[in-house]
Each structure stands twice: as structure tokens, then as C-alpha cells.
Amino acid sequence: MAFINYSSREIQLKIVYYGAALCGKTTNLVTLHKQITHAQKGELVSLATDADRTLFFDFLSLNTKTLPGFTTRFQLYTVPGQAIYNTTRQLVLKGVDGIIFCVDSHWEKMADNVESFANLQENLIENHLSLVQIPYVLQYNKRDIPNAAPVNYLEFTFNNRANRTLAFEAVASTGSGVLETLNAAARLLLAKYSKTPNANVTGLAQPNAAVTVPPPAEESQVAPGSAAA
């Protein structure tokens, strides 16, 4: 839950990158750490094995001035994707404000992606939360692989609810779509504190209602770094 400190005029928000093993969660944070130049960023901390597999979490703190009169501190976490670390994932989700769910576009990873999405919902329930309460965005990662699953298929599989959320194509290793995904999640979170009523503030993001940076490409339902149409 967001922590508001009126004394230091600071809001702290926790965003968790969730997804199956090797889908690119840590790569998102590594890329963000390189890409972000204006926001005040902390050191990227990885609690990983010798083989660079996330053991507990990765952590990156960003201080921004996106709210007038307040410093907004985004605390970005990843979870370990491997099935055996489910308890750890539950722990990292404690106090979460927003979620970025990374989907691996490899065909052969679809079952893992689906399992991870179901696991996310179970673990939110363990933390007395649900995707109805928590703003989340989808990131279809690894769009550069030759045999990537079509976006329509991914949309049907992961974004086929009454209220569809924002989805972004990305190639986290090159940086494509990474900042756009984070900004969408950040804005949905900040919109909770807006005086202006917004359909996205308490529940799922609705397509076409929020982030449009850059505008969706005409030939694709979900363009790199853009909101789902």
C-alpha cells in the first residue's frame, strides 16, 4: 500500500515485475537503470545466484517529481520466476501497489506464462489483494524473436477480461517498450491520487483511456511501447 509522508512530502509506491522464469523481469530493471537519466535513481540491487538467476528479488528505487509538491519514490522489485520460489514471490508482493506482468513471447513458454499469471492471482489472494484492486499492465516481451507468438494470441490469452488492461510490446534487452511499460504503470498508480475522476484508478486499466505514448501503430493491435488498441 502506498506510503504518504506529509513531513517530507514524499509518496512511496511499490511496483512488482512478475512473470515466468527467464521472461525478462530482471532485464527490464537492468535496462531501466541504464535508460533513465533524469529521475534520481538508486543502485540496482540483485539478490541472485552465481548463475544470475534471481533468488529473492531485484530492487531499483526511482525518485521523481511527477506529482506537484511531492517527491514520488517508485520502488521497483522483481520476483524470482522459478516455480520453487513461490513463497519468496508471496513475500515480495507484500505491500504491492502496482504490477507489471511480463509475458515471454516464445511459443513454448506459453504454458509457463499462463501458469505464472494464475500464480500471480493466487499469491495476491494470499496477500488479501486482487487484480481488481491493483493497477497492472502487461508487457509482451521478446518481440524480436523469429517465432514470437502473435500479439492477438497474447491479447486473447492474457487480456481477455471484461476490463482489458494496457499492454505493451517490448524487447527488454534493447530497451524497446521498457520505459513505456513503466510509465503506464506509474501513471495508473498516480491516478489514484488525482482529483480528476479516472476509470482506471481503482481497477483494471481500460484500453484507449490512458497512455498513448507513442500512438498505436495502425498495422498492429499493440505497437512497441504503446497501449493496446
Partner: protein
């Protein structure tokens, strides 16, 4: 949610605790890794990282406790060569994290941390009641435009 008064009161308790225990730094952190208030000296340490790691460490220990049939390990102590960390559970999903060095010892720090824990719990309880009674924070702007982007 912490008001300026809450913050001052908590920092005062932490300051008293540091003076009595001769510890180096102490902080109120929630179990999600948010830093609420802190007092003392840590040099160039990144306090966000410190808070996140402390909360993660305590969470892992809490899970171990559950599996051993304990409701919670109320305190966790990490001993180093020159610096040590004591973490104590507070109410309302919070932790007291204390770093101390060779000027003092674990017995003294633990003794005074148990005292300050009681008064911090009272302050947290009051802050939570105020939070429940207060309206939500609402700000101008819809944050959906490019000017609000993280770059």
C-alpha cells in the same frame, strides 16, 4: 500515512533510543520495504536499499518461523565484524531496524529497543487511527500526459 507531527514524534523516540543504546542508526520500516522514519548516521548508504533488504530479510525469517510452528521471530540479529543489525517486529506491519557498532553491545541495544518498541507501537496505532479518519490524498492533474513521464 504520516503527518509532520507523527514523523517528529517517531524521530524523537528514535533519537532517544539511539542516545541511550549508543547505536548508530535506527529506522522505522514497513514490511513492504518502505522507509517511514529514520535517525542517526549511515554515511553514504542508500537507505531505500537498506530498507528493502531489511524487510526482505525479516520476511524470510518470518516464513521460517511459521514453518517451525512459531507465530513470529520477534527479533532478528545479524552480527558482523564491526557493525551489526538488530531488527524488531512492531505492530501494524512495521519493523524497527537498528545498526550499531563497537561502541555498544547487543544486550544494551536489545534492552532499549524493547522499550522504544512499546512507545513506537503506540504512535503507530495513533497514526493508523488518524489515517482511517482522514480523507484520501487528492491532487490536481490526471498524470496521464507526457509531462508526468519518468525519463
Amino acid at each position: 500515512m504520516l503527518t509532520a507531527e507523527d514523523q517528529m514524534a517517531i524521530e524523537q523516540r528514535l533519537g532517544d533510543f539511539l542516545a541511550k543504546s549508543e547505536a548508530q542508526w535506527s529506522a522505522l520500516v514497513d514490511k513492504g520495504g518502505n522507509l517511514f522514519a529514520q535517525k542517526g548516521e549511515t554515511g553514504a548508504l542508500d537507505l531505500s536499499i537498506l530498507s528493502a533488504l531489511a524487510a526482505g530479510s525479516f520476511a524470510a525469517t518470518h516464513e521460517l518461523a511459521k514453518r517451525l510452528g512459531e507465530s513470529e521471530f520477534s527479533a532478528l540479529y545479524h552480527e558482523g565484524h564491526g557493525q551489526h543489525i538488530l531488527m524488531s517486529a512492531l505492530h501494524h506491519e512495521c519493523l524497527l531496524v537498528t545498526i550499531f557498532g563497537e561502541k555498544t553491545n547487543i544486550g544494551l541495544v536489545r534492552f532499549y529497543s524493547q522499550q522504544v518498541t512499546v512507545s513506537l507501537n503506540e504512535l503507530l496505532h495513533i497514526a493508523r487511527e488518524k489515517e482511517a479518519a482522514a480523507g484520501p490524498l487528492l491532487l490536481d492533474g490526471d498524470f496521464m500526459n507526457d509531462t508526468a513521464a519518468i525519463t
